[in-house]
Symmetry: C2
Subunit: 307 residues, 2 copies
């Protein structure tokens, strides 16, 4: 039996928590912000970490925007970060395509099901992409007239990368299926398998159900690249040469963020209750889902203890 999670609720526990780690990996939604609202005292907490010489990064399964747009979002909250402090599932998918699948930039192409984050990260690496946010995909589907089918499929497409698409439609599903079935070797890369994400007190369908739908229709098993997979961790570790034992994952979903920290043998994990999980879900863990080492109401609560 693992130890029960330690609640960070005194100055001493908060100090000890900080002392254990050199690097903090933060999930964004439910941790740093909620929807488009920055959570209280997050900016101050990050400044404190900087002041203490701690390293931190943002590790998110949001594939709909590229990393550079995350930098803009932080800037809109008056927080300065650099692009290499952000790793999202669009970037980790692109890294997987280049470094694991060994597709060749400038030569091999990628069909994308998803929003602009995935194609933009692939394009930055030199890959041509098809599909994605091409507006012609928003037209009703007709197999006889779809501009993606009339002249045949693009022979240079060597992989399909799929993520969340709030404009999911049959045209996109149907053409993506044609690429998946084009030949047996074409892999299905899933940005992330998140079932749902929180919004305004509800949960809404995430990327996982979309990728799984493509998997079911094509008979292909997807390889996911977001949290909690090791594909995501490999991107972080290789880019930063981290000492994993001095690294803490901070997130709001146990089966995604805490599982990520545990699967990756990071030094520790912190669950904040400002997102999906509640004190109740923490006390009633589901089978196969790890519990965190530490938990706190939110990052601002830890900051307040440290003052």
């Amino acid at each position: 039996m693992p130890n029960p999670p330690t609640k960070i609720n005194t100055n001493e526990i908060a100090q000890n928590f900080l002392n254990k780690f050199d690097t903090f990996l933060f999930d964004c939604d439910g941790v740093i912000w909620s929807g488009n609202r920055l959570l209280p005292n997050v900016k101050e907490f990050l400044e404190k970490l900087r002041h203490l010489g701690k390293q931190f990064m943002f590790i998110t399964n949001k594939s709909t925007i590229p990393r550079k747009q995350f930098v803009e979002v932080f800037k809109s909250f008056d927080i300065e970060i650099s692009i290499d402090q952000v790793i999202n599932s669009a970037y980790s998918s692109a890294m997987y395509v280049r470094d694991v699948l060994k597709l060749q930039p400038g030569k091999d192409k990628v069909w994308v099901f998803g929003e602009c984050g995935i194609p933009e990260e692939l394009n930055l690496m030199g890959f041509k992409t098809l599909g994605g946010v091409d507006p012609r995909l928003n037209e009703p589907f007709d197999a006889a007239t779809s501009p993606f089918l009339v002249d045949g499929l693009d022979e240079d497409v060597r992989a399909v990368v799929a993520g969340f698409d709030s404009k999911i439609n049959y045209h996109k599903l149907a053409v993506t299926l044609q690429y998946l079935l084009k030949d047996k070797e074409i892999p299905l890369v899933g940005a992330d398998a998140d079932r749902v994400f929180p919004e305004r007190g509800r949960v809404l369908p995430g990327a996982g159900p979309m990728v799984e739908s493509l998997a079911f229709q094509s008979g292909k098993v997807p390889t996911y690249c977001g949290k909690p997979t090791m594909n995501m961790l490999n991107v972080i570790v290789s880019s930063k040469h981290l000492d994993k034992s001095r690294c803490c994952m901070v997130g709001d979903i146990m089966e995604v963020d805490i599982a990520f920290g545990k699967n990756g043998n990071l030094g520790g994990t912190l669950l904040v209750l400002s997102g999906v999980e509640t004190e109740k879900s923490l006390q009633e863990p589901k089978e196969g889902i790890p519990t965190p080492d530490f938990y706190a109401e939110n990052l601002g609560a830890i900051y307040n203890l440290l003052k």
Copy 2:
């Protein structure tokens, strides 16, 4: 080892085949028609069966139109059939809702993800339906303004029925998820699990990937009502009091139509090669997928042998 399939390629084999059965259950797409084209000599073959005093029905996983519209399609091909000769997965889903789930017409409501076949069959039984082809679902989704969410969910909804929807979008997926999560008891009924269907030499995504997507996001296990499930067979057998041993299922997909005949212990199965399967796929059966007792190029070929 089962016997290898008998090819119907002589007058004698064709005669013996007909003599073995009193009732023929025909799949439609790939058997009776292909797209919107009637296959050759199908009309003549059906007339021959009628002349011989054989009974026949049409058993299809197409849930997008109600049974009465199938009658119209046959009429457009100059073939007269009655509505009780048609059982589609929209009707079998509605029967399941009423007779197995025991929902009460006039009181309990059903949320529908799918085209007009499902709500029309449910409405005929007296169930009120929500969702389906409501045009407001074609508007872009916003959790704060969706007319399906602003006033809360309908408390009388007791089941979700999902089938193929060529206008799949995020609004429909998101609201369907809210009903699936409304309470633990709400079942997810899938019209059919077909992965794909053939069109113009391609395969396109079927109902299965859509239902499986809803299953993945909600964590619910769907109950399917189309071929090859026994829910479909129960509807046929209870409505017709068939002698199953004198009944032959005729279809173009082994894992759907032939599996249906085998699972249901029907007297025989006939595969026609005018749809999804080819001579090659027949000779290389996949594990767990049954092979037919008989096969033929198409229904017209059998008719020609009988002349």
